[in-house]
Symmetry: C2
Subunit: 341 residues, 2 copies
Amino acid sequence: MVTIKDIANRLGIAPSTVSKGLNDAKDISPELKKLVLDTAIEMGYVTKRMKKETRKRLCIFVENMQYEMPGDFGFDIILGFKQAAIRNNWDVTVVPITPLLQLRDPYDRYMVKNNFHGGFLVGFALKDPWMSQLQTTTIPTVLFDNYIRKNPNVGYVGTDSFEGIDLAIDHLTELGHSKIALLNGSPNSMVTVNRYDAYISSMQSHDLKIDENLIAHGHYVEDSAKYHLPSLLKSGATAIVCGNDLLAIGVIKECARLNIKIPQELSVVGFDNLPIAEKITPALTTICQNRIDLGRNSYAALYWLIAKVPISKSLLRPHLIIRNSTAMLYTPQKRKKPPFL
Amino acid sequence: MVTIKDIANRLGIAPSTVSKGLNDAKDISPELKKLVLDTAIEMGYVTKRMKKETRKRLCIFVENMQYEMPGDFGFDIILGFKQAAIRNNWDVTVVPITPLLQLRDPYDRYMVKNNFHGGFLVGFALKDPWMSQLQTTTIPTVLFDNYIRKNPNVGYVGTDSFEGIDLAIDHLTELGHSKIALLNGSPNSMVTVNRYDAYISSMQSHDLKIDENLIAHGHYVEDSAKYHLPSLLKSGATAIVCGNDLLAIGVIKECARLNIKIPQELSVVGFDNLPIAEKITPALTTICQNRIDLGRNSYAALYWLIAKVPISKSLLRPHLIIRNSTAMLYTPQKRKKPPFL
């Protein structure tokens, strides 16, 4: 068990100085404070106070998404997490974060400095500064829709993309579609890789031919759809599974502009069930992840990581919400001639 | 909300008769009792008593493994589950099960008849009678090392096989091996499929050539190893990753019989860290799944399924235990001539 004295001996300074560094005192230089904290982390020091604390302090870091208003993508995730944490009377702080802020303090130092027992990271990109530090962190941490290999202190919570994409393709094949395209999102995202793998696997299990021309990689924004839609249509797509709802909205809007009728001429499936999915015309068929449940499950995973149970990944089942953007494949042969012709 | 009266109306019998069927009374024929129970399940009826009950009753069904003594494969899983359940004061019953017993009562009927709120199934095979019923069960259920698609009431808990196999191949490549074989287990097992996929993926990410002749499928028993070992050796394997410890033990014993030195001439890695792994000579390098943690995590997943959070899969990180069955690749060129030659 590492003590303040051990840290003092390692650094060749007085124990009282170490104490000042750990307790964020004013009468110690910032450089020395950083050195004390980093050494403490490296040596695995946990304050006696934190160990005794049954009321844990958790921090949710949010990036790249709205979260403060009901209907925001992050709102329900945080709400679900807080609802579950309340039952244990654990304290939850929400911190909006940016790559710049991550550069100011390494993750471990930030957590120890602010006395957080565990962290929940939402909306981070693979290239974020803290992501590489998570490879070696000793702080129990849950990542939303992101995965770190080989660190037993870090777990991944998200939606089972395989099930989600499979539900979409089930639905479209039941409607008679076989030329099903994938309009996927930003390449530097684990979710993108998962949904691509899921698409390939699901097409194969439905005995459908994989056509590379029916697979496009855009970005998870509305605007990206119009650049990829023409080539997918040209390659014969009668239905498109989109990596998220924003891409699907983009497809719907571009089709409106090009006078292509949805769902009669093209079926579209989204992913996420954002509030806009029901408001747009036609209303969007999509894969729904219940974000309150994701929040609750994230809290549960963090609880177990703090208890030293090495959760690797914990995924929830999504479900299909059928609205008006999908329909039976329209085949000209099936069109009946009006009786008067 | 379905009531006893609804069930009575559906069946055209008196509510009191329905009550007798639900409460396992003696003065009702077995056939009528079955009919009442099956109809209740189909209509989604939950006894008022069960709904009010905060002290849930859970059942662990164990098949195909020893579990009663410390050291048995199932012992720690059940212990971990019970330890976690105690904190909520939930009641846990352990029931050894066989395919024959499964044929006597469908899963849902068994659970409702015995007033269990949720089930944990350990050691089931894909072909077990209850497994197909799980596709549609409304009973919150956790499967150990098994997966059911598309049913939000059923979750899968296990070890992250991808991480495990990757750790084994990391270790062997660090020791200089590239002709790494896979001796996998019984084909009708999800774990087998996972470990095969993991092997392929890991070999690729380590830039190693995949040689079909270095992949063998046996069964998860010691005896199976000797049938596959010769061809793997003939194809140039210098290391073998085994689907479980029993296969690895089988390899070790057969090599002893054939006078092949482990680890000098062949490195062997197991999976599971059964107690025998440390007792055999040479002691077995293996991938360890902490079974107490698996039990705790299974309870956690069942807790959330009962709370209607649709856990799909919850996997734990295993870790590598290096013992004496693996060593650096022996390359003749490296052997130094004794100085007197």
